[in-house]
Structure formats: structure tokens, C-alpha cells
Symmetry: C2
Subunit: 248 residues, 2 copies
DNA sequence: ATGGCAACCATTGTATACGCATCGCGGGCC
DNA sequence: GGCCCGCGATGCGTATACAATGGTTGCCAT
């Protein structure tokens, strides 16, 4: 929503100016921006699960051709944020209950397992940065900006994982957080956001004290609390079992 | 240079015309096959790290256009099997020492953490399947077919993770195993293959006895042994630090 | 002889054009 | 009046063409 540099307005005749603008920055960087725009929109629930993402609509909005959009869509699909059905196009993934369980189990294992490393390596600067993120999240929550709070919460968890020093696991946690955001969108109760506002601050305290054990235990409870707050009922919206509904 | 082995099944002659009209249904399946071909070639070390993968060469070999190849290449890039440099094309990833450490640390955490679940859920059929895989791996090793042994070993670890019931973590383990294969190709000592042949059998024994604890401990030792067998010396072929070499 | 420069070539990145499958709708038939 | 079939439209998948960039090589000047 920020990148519409001269997109739709009379682009047919004077394509040159738009082209010049676009390529001067850099093609790859441009794609990265667009990717982040869509990704953010999904994570912030501005695009709800199930929403269809038409290729040429996106292409027109962002002012690039369908080719680039497809590339981005495929990347999002590999990260499980969008679902690509063979000839039906792309849509925001609607996680199943099983997937939700898997994601939270995975977070349980990885994020908790990372806490000792984080506690060992964390620096005062890191602590300050984390506290800042937690503050901003709390403010967003207080201001009623759920979208922002959700994104900040995911960013907090991801940043935490990055502090472990293991880039591979950090990237994995990042994906899990994104998917968690989707899960919240589908199974979350309104008004009950995932992360309690003070939880993150408490966690920072344990890490600052270099108490990896307690941090891990706290993270475990934290994630369990989020998962427990979900109302996971398989909606089975796509295959309503008519037999069971109307009786045999 | 060395991708003549690209496709095993004899599809050379009538390929292009047949595929042109075969675009109807098997398109996705075909891409999946090609993806697997390239992926296997990398995992089996038939394509060594650093090997360049030219788009039109691949397109010609597999009888599809560059568009499809690009899609596959991007997928492989996201899985870290190939590296895409902006205008230099694709090449098989050459993992750095840091990445190698991250990957093995991640495997340590995830695979060991999964063992209790696997021990709890494993069935006699699963045991039989695993033993069969271990046998085939041992045979390949005995026959000197390192490529096959490496792939089978990775497949064993991935299948093991699948038995945990967590598809998300299983997929992650699959990626880690693929990357491990690359790491072995770069840092492995010749003649000293990653997994000892009897290790997998022992592991199956613990799992069959539903002893998740011992299985996890054994897996930990197993992975440590593999990692220890590597000779990780940063080759820094690309950016030799002349300053440190020739003194300041 | 060596170093710099410039033109060429190889290869990727992007856009556009085309073909086909699927979905929705209207009319005809039962 | 309801159901089925045919038709049109929409939208994806693939291929091809074009543009731009980086490497390479050959030539010239010093």
C-alpha cells in the first residue's frame, strides 16, 4: 500500500517513466518490498485466511507484471502463508487444526530450546531493544491496534530467536510465528490476543538475569497459554458432511 | 559442465513435442519430478557445491521452458540447496562453516527432541520399514555407492521425523538433512561417510523398545559423531583476507 | 610488456502474448 | 417447474521476445 509509485494512472502510454522509476531502485529490492507488503498484510490480518489473491489484481496494484507477482506468491506459498491450488489461484492459507497443533508444538520445542543460548549470549543492548519492542507492543495493544500488536508480537519472538545466534533456527521460528498469526486469525477469540502484555517483559527479565532454565520454562507456559486461548474447532467449511448434518 | 546426468529416464528424443501438448494435466507433476531430479542430484553429490546451473541448459535437458526452471530454482533456493546471485545465475550452495554448525545444532535440537514422540507412536510396520531402509543403506555403503548411501541416510532421518506425527517439524528436518548432505560434500572426509552403518539399526532398536530417552541420547551421539567427522576449515575461497595474510 | 579501455557476448530478469481449464449462467428439454 | 447441457467469460500456466547487466576478450597506449 506504500509502493504505488505511479501505478494505475495512465501507465499505458508513458510506460517509460514508471519503468525508469522502478528499475532505478533495484528489481530485487522492489520485489522484497512487495513481498513484505503482502506478508505484513497477512500477518496483520488485513488479509484474512481464505481471501483470494488474484494475480493480475496484485500485479496492477503494485505496478509490476504478473511474472513478478507469481514469484512472490510462490515464495509465500513455500512459507505456508498462502495456498496455491492448481488452477484456482492463490488464497491466504486457512490453517487446519492439525497444522495449528504442529506449529505450536514446534514452537514449544524450538523456542524453549533456544532460551538457554539466548540467555547466555544476550547483551545489554539486546535487552534494551527487546524492552523497546515489548513497550511498543503493549502500547499498540492499549491503543486497540490489534494488527500492529500481532505483528510486533511475532517480531518479538523472531528477534528473540535471532539472538540465539543460530540463523537457521531463527528463520524457522520466524516462519512459525507468521503461521501462528494466521492461526490466531482463524481460531483466536476476539478480544483475547495471543500474548499477554506483561509476559514478554517478564521473559526479558529472566534472560537479563541469564537464567536460561526459567526463561525456557516461562516461554513454555507462555506458548501453552496462547495455544490454550484458542478455540480450535474444526470448521470443515469446505466439505460439509451433508450426511451427518441432515441425518441418514 | 557436469549436468549431463540430469535425467535418468530416457526421455531425450520425443520430449519437447510431447510435452508441448502434455501441458494439460501433468504440468505440476512434471515440475515436481524435475525438482526431485535436481534435488536428488544435489543430495547425491552428483552436482557438487559450486556447480553452476544455467537456466537454459536445464530447460533444454528437461524439455521445458526457462519459466518452469526458474520456478524450480527459486524453490531450491528457498530451501538453501542452490544459491541465486542477482545476475550471475544459480549454483549449488556451498555452505559456510557457520551454516554447517547451525544446521547440526538445529538437527541436534529437533531430531533429539522428536525421539520421545517417535518412540511413543512407532508401529511394527514402521519398524519394518525403517529396518528395510537401514538395510538398503548398508548395502549401498558396502557396494561403494556413496551417492545412494547418502541419499538413503537422509531419507532415513527424514522418515524418522515423519513418524513423530508433526508434519511441520518433519519437513524442517527434511530440509536440514538435505543441507547436511551438502555440508558433507564440502567438509566431509572421503571414505568416512556420515552415518555409521550400524548406528541406524541400534537406533531402531531403542525406538522399538519405546525407550525415547535412550533413543534421543543415541541420536545426539550419532549427530555429534557425524559433525565431529567433518573437517571444518573455513576455506574462504571467495574473500581471502589479504590484510591478515600479508600482514597490515 | 603491461595496464587500461571499450566493444562484444553470454546470461539473466521482466513483460507480453497465447492456449487451456474451470466456473457461472442462460436456455432448452424432460 | 426443475434439471441438464452448452456457451461465454475469467483467470491461470507456459512459452517467447526483449531489455539490461556483468564478464570477457582483444586492442591500443604508455
Amino acid at each position: 500500500m506504500n509502493q504505488r509509485q505511479g501505478l494505475a494512472d495512465g501507465e499505458a502510454p508513458d510506460k517509460a517513466p514508471a519503468r525508469r522509476l522502478g528499475k532505478n531502485g533495484d528489481g530485487a529490492e522492489r520485489h522484497e518490498t512487495i513481498y513484505r507488503s503482502i506478508s505484513d498484510a497477512i500477518i496483520e490480518h488485513r488479509l484474512r485466511p481464505g481471501a483470494r489473491l488474484r494475480e493480475d489484481a496484485l500485479a496492477e496494484v503494485f505496478g509490476i507484471s504478473r511474472t513478478g507477482i507469481r514469484k512472490i506468491l510462490q515464495r509465500l506459498a513455500l512459507e505456508q502463508l498462502v495456498t496455491l491450488t492448481p488452477r484456482r489461484g492463490a488464497s491466504v492459507t486457512r490453517p487446519t487444526a492439525d497444522e495449528a497443533k504442529d506449529v505450536f508444538d514446534a514452537r514449544q520445542m524450538v523456542e524453549c530450546g533456544l532460551m538457554p543460548d539466548v540467555a547466555r549470549r544476550i547483551t545489554p543492548e539486546d535487552v534494551r531493544e527487546l524492552r523497546d519492542m515489548a513497550n511498543r507492543e503493549r502500547e499498540a495493544l492499549k491503543a486497540g491496534e490489534q494488527s500492529r500488536a500481532i505483528k510486533l508480537s511475532a517480531a518479538f519472538h523472531e528477534r528473540l530467536a535471532q539472538l540465539s545466534g543460530n540463523a537457521t533456527l531463527a528463520a524457522f521460528v520466524g516462519q512459525l510465528c507468521s503461521r501462528s498469526s494466521l492461526i490466531l486469525a482463524v481460531y483466536g477469540n476476539p478480544g483475547h490476543l495471543g500474548c499477554e502484555s506483561h509476559d514478554h517483559d517478564d521473559l526479558i527479565g529472566y534472560l537479563e538475569a541469564r537464567n536460561g532454565e526459567r526463561a525456557a520454562a516461562f516461554m513454555s507456559r507462555h506458548l501453552k497459554a496462547i495455544e490454550a486461548s484458542l478455540s480450535i474447532v474444526e470448521e470443515e467449511a469446505e466439505a460439509p458432511d451433508l450426511q451427518s448434518i441432515f441425518g441418514a
